[in-house]
């Protein structure tokens, strides 16, 4: 259990961030995260022997598939919808505005770019690590991240991140 807990603490931000970036409300994202790690726990015998990049890829695939299944079951429209407004944020009005702006900004990205953004800014991975996890060249990751950074800085300017000079 200790080994799994170490694994969990290393990966939970990535998994939760990905679930949230897929326009899941906080409760749904927590459910998805739990279900992902429950499956990981059941398969931990095999998973623990994998390289970290392969473990991350497994987790990302699992959360992606579970999210798709959940959406099919609920038949709810994806982003910019009542899902965002209806989700119980529970924070202050300012936090709620920040949350909506962040979700709106992420909605403008392609799905693949959303994953890049979560890996970079939530999990704080560098371009090489992201490239390894996704099986893409580091240069490609850097270029796509630069594009995302520009868009996010513009979109979220009121919260502080100005565009790079």
């Amino acid at each position: 259990m200790v080994e799994f807990e170490v694994f969990y603490r290393k990966q939970v931000r990535l998994v939760y961030g990905l679930a949230r970036a897929r326009a899941e409300g906080p409760e749904q994202a927590e459910d998805l995260t739990q279900e992902t790690f429950l499956r990981a726990w059941r398969s931990f015998g095999g998973l623990s022997g994998m390289e970290p990049a392969a473990q991350r890829a497994w987790l990302m695939r699992t959360v992606r598939n579970l999210s798709i299944d959940a959406w099919r079951r609920r038949e709810v429209e994806v982003v910019g919808s009542r899902t965002l407004e209806g989700s119980a944020w529970g924070g202050s009005p300012e936090q709620s505005d920040l949350h909506l702006d962040v979700m709106g900004a992420l909605a403008e990205l392609e799905e693949g770019d959303r994953e890049l953004v979560v890996m970079r800014y939530v999990e704080e991975m560098n371009s090489r690590e992201i490239g390894e996890a996704l099986g893409r060249p580091e240069g490609t990751v850097r270029r796509r991240l630069a594009r995302c950074r520009e868009m996010l800085a513009r979109r979220l300017a009121q919260w502080g991140p100005e565009e790079a000079e």
Binding site: W41, W89, L98, D101, R120, L156, W159, P161, A164, E165
Partner: protein, 73 residues
């Protein structure tokens, strides 16, 4: 603003905006561990029940042993 500063600020804004907090991680861990413990307990109970049933069934089966459909006295 330098790229590194932009990255730092975006990290802060996105983590806050997505609700990625230590508190949430701890809560989720607690619930996950509880759920897994329940799962293991349920599985143990199920396996235990099967073993007991098999153990109890054997003498009963032997006591009323049926010689087979083609047996003629």
């Amino acid at each position: 603003m330098e790229e590194r500063e932009v990255d730092g600020r975006l990290t802060e804004v996105l983590q806050k905006g997505l609700g990625v907090t230590r508190e949430r991680e701890e809560t989720m861990w607690g619930e996950l561990a509880a759920r897994r413990a329940l799962e293991m307990a349920a599985w143990s109970a199920f396996v235990g029940a099967i073993v007991r049933m098999t153990r109890n069934l054997r003498p009963a089966m032997q006591a009323c042993a049926w010689p087979g459909p083609f047996y003629r006295e």
